[in-house]
């Protein structure tokens, strides 16, 4: 069955939007081609979650205009809380508007590019064209990737040239405070040979309710011997239907580490795939999830081993409360020829209420003999004996539960590279599990 895509937008709207942003013709063509394929492409089929009735295509308005910030001092308090005052390298997008950018002179001199996606497409056209939806996510994967390409209305481009090692984390904040806004954001991160970078992005809703869509694609291209740490805290409001696809591709000897804090309050389909293409490359995924209310979520994490001696690890911890339900699909796939590779994964779900649902599905798909692999999964409740132990030292039941839950999520929270973001994630968890 194909789902009707009732878009209020026409081909002409997309052409005008692209021209309005002075996009090079390749981008206009890419958008239009994607738009033309919308009707025929199928919806994605996340395993064990039926999304036929989910709204991924109707939204109030394509873009909204929001204010820019001339300094970090002007930021709303909620944003200030996650930003270091000394943070030098930062991009902030306000709903759909590129609102603030700062990149140190030192990094500029080294050839580092950090800019909003429109500017990148315009001013670094050839570089962006080389990597934009080519090696990572394909436009034609399904209806939602095509919709993303056609309607792209925000995002960031980070390029780290060969041999450049960036010590301080790069921070990107997507601030959402207009309930009519929709986010078709694209993060494109290219780490060239022998480079190293830590990047943290933050989706932050400061309104309680959203009416729009979030269709987010991230591509991380880690070239030979590069090292990328990609952290995120997503806190999108209830009301958003979110499709988020974060994809990585590693070349020889590259190491890509994901630390993903998935704290959305709306229904979410999250796909996180790492292609370990180059020999001896590594992909590590650490993810925490808190589900509450009636939200439905699906987190499919894949590490696909193509190169020899590749190392893949998935570690996911989820806490479910109220009537929230989440599917955790973990897939380690070792292709023929990827000898001496190792695929490990672990999924743990902690349920805090009778009506919450959590489902952990570890899957290993192995087409090569000379490999190692392992998986562990569990779904359970807070252990009453742990609570008894903590309470026997005078700690209240509420505080004891808090300690157990934070402890359960700590292995991932502790991986986040920016203190402010780590603190924010801890606070979001606190708020969500209360």
């Amino acid at each position: 069955m194909t789902v009707e895509t009732k878009l209020a937008l026409t081909e002409q709207d997309i052409r005008s939007f692209s021209e309005g942003k002075q996009e090079p013709s390749w981008m206009t063509e890419l958008r239009l081609k994607a738009f033309g394929q919308l009707e025929t492409l199928p919806m994605p089929t996340p395993d064990k979650t039926k999304i036929t009735n989910w709204n991924f295509t109707e939204f109030p308005v394509h873009t909204v205009e929001s204010s820019k910030f001339t300094s970090l001092a002007e930021l709303p308090e909620e944003v200030k809380a996650v930003v270091n005052a000394e943070q030098q390298n930062i991009y902030i997008q306000h709903n759909n508007t590129p609102a603030f950018l700062s990149l140190s002179e030192e990094l500029k001199a080294k050839g580092v590019i950090l800019t909003d996606i429109y500017t990148a497409i315009r001013e670094h056209s050839a570089l962006v064209q080389q990597y934009f939806m080519t090696d990572g996510v394909k436009v034609t994967e399904h209806k939602l990737t095509a919709l993303h390409a056609a309607l792209l209305n925000g995002g960031v481009f980070l390029y780290v040239p060969k041999n450049v090692v960036i010590e301080e984390p790069i921070q990107v904040i997507y601030l959402h405070d207009d309930k009519t806004a929709s986010l078709f954001n694209h993060t494109l991160l290219v780490a060239d040979e022998n480079s190293s970078v830590t990047y943290v992005e933050n989706y932050l809703s400061t309104v309680d309710h959203a009416e729009g869509l979030a269709n987010i694609v991230t591509e991380v291209i880690a070239k030979d011997n590069s090292r990328v740490t990609f952290g995120t805290v997503d806190v999108l409001a209830e009301g958003f239907t979110t499709y988020v696809n974060r994809r990585g591709v590693t070349s020889r000897d590259a190491v890509l580490e994901w630390a993903l804090g998935m704290m959305n309050d709306g229904d979410t389909i999250s796909e996180n795939t790492t292609h370990l293409v180059g020999d001896n490359s590594e992909g590590h995924v650490k993810m925490v999830v808190v589900g509450r209310g009636k939200q439905k979520q699906n987190f499919t994490t894949k590490v696909i081993h193509w190169g020899k001696h590749t190392e893949g690890q998935i570690l996911k911890h989820g806490v479910m409360k109220d009537e929230a339900s989440s599917i955790f699909n973990g897939i380690g796939k070792i292709e023929y020829g990827a000898t001496k590779s190792n695929a490990e994964q672990e999924s743990r779900v902690l349920m805090l209420s009778e009506k919450a649902r959590g489902d952990a599905n570890p899957i290993l798909l192995i087409d090569e003999d000379d490999v190692t692999a392992g998986h562990a999964a569990s779904v359970g409740r807070v252990d009453p004996l742990q609570l008894y132990y903590l309470m026997s030292r005078g700690i209240s039941q509420h505080e004891a539960e808090r300690l157990v839950i934070h402890g359960f999520l700590a292995p991932v929270v502790n991986e986040l590279p920016i203190e402010g973001v780590k603190k924010q994630l801890t606070e979001v968890i606190e708020r969500k599990v209360r």
Binding site: Y388, L390, M391, S392, R393, G394, L403, V404, H406, G407
Partner: protein, 259 residues
Amino acid sequence: MSTLVIKDLHVAIDGKEILKGVNLTINTNEIHAVMGPNGTGKSTLASAIMGHPKYEVTSGSIELDGEDVLAMEVDERAQAGLFLAMQYPSEITGVTNADFLRSAINSRREEGDEISLMKFIRELDSKMEFLEMDLDMAQRYLNEGFSGGEKKRNEILQLMMLQPKFAILDEIDSGLDIDALKVVSKGINQMRGEGFGSLVITHYQRLLNYITPDHVHVMMQGRVVKSGGPELAQRLEAEGYEWIKEELGIEDETVGQEA
């Protein structure tokens, strides 16, 4: 002086009665040893006093300075001054030993009057050194991957940090080598004094070579069947439990058997 009074305590687990009328009075400045073979209800007594969720008190009373302990939640019992060094302490991932201990100390203090970090670290370090513990253990996750001996030392560390009125030690000596046993005993002996009383539960007289009890009680069939001074423990060490069974006409000392 504080007093813990246990009167005619009956306790069941999954509907099966384990304790069948235990009577015991402990004052601060006293150390009581509870001895007895396996399966006689010693650990059940310890767990029931602290409020283990699986143990149901079916009748009897426990009072601490006249306050009804059985009406208190587990954390309230701790706040009132009770402590149980557990035979099998839980492991809790992601919560460091230090954070846990600080939460426990602060739970006894008013909001705004929390222990200062410096003072806490000073006390923790000095007590860990006293117990010959590796200082790194403060930053390890609570009991996770600790050896049996490390867990027992960690229980005593908590005891020393929290300074309760009454400590129940549930087979603190099981699985300890002689050096660890000496260290653990050193910790308990340091606590000895005016404001502290203890109920030491053990199979073996060996522990009582290091912690001299003021009173010794023997449990069989879910009751205290004999009480005496330290000489009772020595006689048990020398002669075993048979003579008590003969004296009282008990054939099988375990719970579920009637005299």
